[in-house]
Structures are given as C-alpha cells and as structure tokens.
C-alpha cells in the first residue's frame, strides 16, 4: 500500500514539475492537513496556520524545480512550512492561542467540571509549547505531533541528527520545568 502511494506521488511530482497544476493540486490535497497541523502547532492560530499553509504550497510550486525526487516530499514541504511559521511568528510578534476557541476535547461527553479542567489543561500545555524557542519547538512538533523519526526530522530541518536529539531534550526539559508544578503532578495523581 505504502509503495503504491510513493510511486503515485513520484509521478505526481514529475508531472507537477512539468507545470501540470492538477498534479500539484493532488499533492496539495495529500499533504494539506499535515502542513496545516505543523504550522498550527508552531503558531497556535487556525486561520493564520491555513494562510501560512497556502503560502507554503505556493512557495513549493515556485521552487518545485529545485526539489529532488529522491528526498521525501513531506519532509521538504515541512521544511518550507516551519520556515513559513517562523516568519509569521516574527511578523506577528508571536501568536498565542486564541484561548479556548481553537481547542477541542478528546472525550466527546465529559462532565461540566471535566470540560473546564481539560480545556484549562490543554490551554496551559499549548501555551507552554508556544513559549519554547522556535528551533526547539519545530523539532518537538515534528516528533510529537507528526510522529517523525529523528532522521526524518533531521532531513526536514536540514540539521544533524545529534542536533535533533539535543533540541528535543532541551524542549522537553523546558516543558517539564514549566508544567511539572502545574500539571505533571496532577496527571501522576490521576494515573494512581
């Protein structure tokens, strides 16, 4: 199944590189959610994430000739997406999450108290993630929310695997320091 997908994608890329807009649209359709998610996790605003994702694909279209089919298209797109998110954060003077509007609950039917508690918790975690340095946050987002391996992250961000490890260690340490008092102990108590 995965092989078929790869072959199709390679063919789509080749056609898109020849200027076929329909082939490129198909690639956009395949990677849209992933790119939007990466940018959203980087900036915390849905509308800005969607705008930046559009910009990401436009940049990809303009620079498609420089893309080597041997590399992963997803990794290449994520690199552009992370850069787009970083640029936007710089321009917008860092965006904080729109309180509770963009957040959804995992549990479909929790009680009223649980809703508030859950929302509050996700809000705190999201703010803590957004407070990380850009470089560390990018690595954390690709690992935690996109499930990418260290090698894939290194490829996407064009950094050595050792740097991926150190940035991830640093990001998690900062998060633990921020969240330990507020949430981690509470989570521990819940598990017990």
């Amino acid at each position: 199944m995965a092989t078929v997908f790869t072959v199709d994608e390679t063919e789509l890329v080749t056609r898109a590189q020849r200027g076929e807009r329909n082939a490129f649209s198909e690639l956009v359709r395949i990677h849209a959610q992933g790119v939007m998610n990466v940018i959203y996790r980087m900036c915390g605003d849905v509308h800005i994430a969607e705008d930046a994702a559009q910009e990401t694909f436009i940049q990809a279209w303009l620079h498609l000739a420089s893309y080597r089919p041997q590399a992963s298209l997803r990794n290449w797109l994520y690199r552009i997406a992370v850069n787009a998110a970083t640029d936007i954060l710089r321009k917008e003077k860092r965006i904080l999450p729109n309180a509770l509007e963009d957040m959804q609950l995992k549990d479909p039917q929790p009680g009223p108290e649980a809703i508030f508690s859950q929302e509050e918790r996700t809000g705190i975690v999201q703010k803590a993630v957004l407070g990380l340095p850009d470089a560390s946050r990018a690595v954390l987002v690709l690992r935690e929310y996109e499930g990418m391996s260290y090698h894939e992250i290194a490829d996407a961000l064009d950094i050595p695997v050792g740097t991926v490890m150190s940035r991830l260690n640093y990001a998690r340490k900062l998060l633990k320091d921020k969240l330990e008092q507020k949430l981690l102990l509470q989570v521990e108590a819940e598990y017990v």
Binding site: F24, A32, Q104, Q126, M165, L168, N169, Y191
Partner: protein, 202 residues
C-alpha cells in the same frame, strides 16, 4: 550501578536507540529508580502533549482548490513580463542616448565643415574630412551653369545648406522629443490607472 542514562532517555522513549546503547539503557533502567522516574515523567509529558487536539482545518479538497486559485502562472510568462517591463523602463534611457548621439554627430559635422571651409583640414587624412563635404552641391552646380546668380544663388545655397544640415537635425530631435513626451504621457496614465485600481481594491 552504572552512570545515569538521563541524556538517552528521550531517544529511548522515542524508540530511536538500537544495539548495545539500547541494551545499556534497559539494563540501567532495571536497576535505577532515578532514571525510571525520569522516564515516567517524560512519558507523562508526552501524554499531556498528546491531549492537545488538532482543530478542524478546511477540508483538503477545498484547501487544494484555494491554493490552485493562488498559484502563479508558469515562470516563462513571468520572464516575458519582466523583459517587457525592463524594456519599458529602458525606453527613456534609449531616447536620451539617441538624442545625445545625434546632437554630437551633428556638432562634430558642423565643426569639421567650418574647419574645412577655413582650410584647416587640408593636411589631414581623407577620413577626417568625410563629414566635412560641401553642403551646397546643387546650388553651386546651378550657379556654374548660369541658372542662378546673385541673390537667387545665395538664397538657394542657404536653403540647401539648411535642408542638408539643420533640417534633419531638427526633425530628429523633434521626433525624439515627441517620443519622450509620449512615454511620459503613457507612464502618467499607467500610474493613474494603478492608483485607481488600488483605491478600488482598498
């Protein structure tokens, strides 16, 4: 007990360790409560991060359609447009260069003519006197054959001199001036149209 493996716990949690390193970390974790506690803490953090859900984005199909609408045209069109734009901005420069060239040519020609009339070019090579040929060929011929004489001959000589030297110069310079004014008029009209368009978009 071996040294703590804190620095490798993230990679262990992410399933990135292999071979002897993995074995070493696993062995250490089996006997070290500190590192086990640290690993538990990292797992809880990962669980917390996982609790932050992704919002509902625009559907992939709709998003792809939106991107498709914004995709620029192929590079060739852009290049052609760029060349036209460069050509447009080079037009006044070209006109100015043409005007300078024509004026200089006529000036040199006149200087050579005057020098020739004064007999200053008699000792120089032929190519230098090329531009200093007589400007009254036809009136002189008519005078030689006795068709014209006196004031008539003078008037014919002046007219011929004017049509041979000043008139072409004047015509060319007026043409260049008209082209330049036309360019300015078009530039002004374009600017006004752009300003109007921006106003409408705003």
């Amino acid at each position: 007990m071996s040294k703590h493996v804190t620095e490798w716990l993230n990679a262990y949690l992410d399933g990135e360790l292999q071979g002897s390193r993995l074995q070493h970390v696993e062995t250490h974790l089996a006997e070290c409560r500190v590192c086990r506690a640290e690993l538990d803490s990292l797992e809880r953090l990962s669980g917390l991060l996982d609790e932050v859900p992704a919002p509902e984005f625009t559907s992939s199909e709709r998003f792809a359609a939106q991107v498709n609408l914004r995709l620029p045209h192929p590079q060739t069109t852009v290049s052609r447009k760029k060349i036209l734009e460069i050509g447009w901005w080079m037009t006044p420069v070209g006109l100015l260069a043409a005007w300078v060239f024509i004026s200089t040519s006529f000036l040199v020609n006149e200087v050579l003519s005057v020098a020739n009339n004064l007999g200053l070019l008699s000792s120089v090579s032929d190519w230098m006197t090329f531009g200093a040929v007589s400007i009254t060929d036809w009136s002189a011929t008519l005078g030689q054959f006795g068709v014209l004489s006196g004031d008539g001959l003078n008037w014919a000589a002046s007219t011929e001199a004017f049509t041979r030297t000043s008139l072409p110069q004047l015509t060319l310079q007026v043409s260049i001036a008209l082209l330049y004014l036309s360019w300015i008029a078009i530039w002004w009209a374009r600017r006004r149209r752009e300003a109007h368009g921006q106003l409408l978009e705003g």
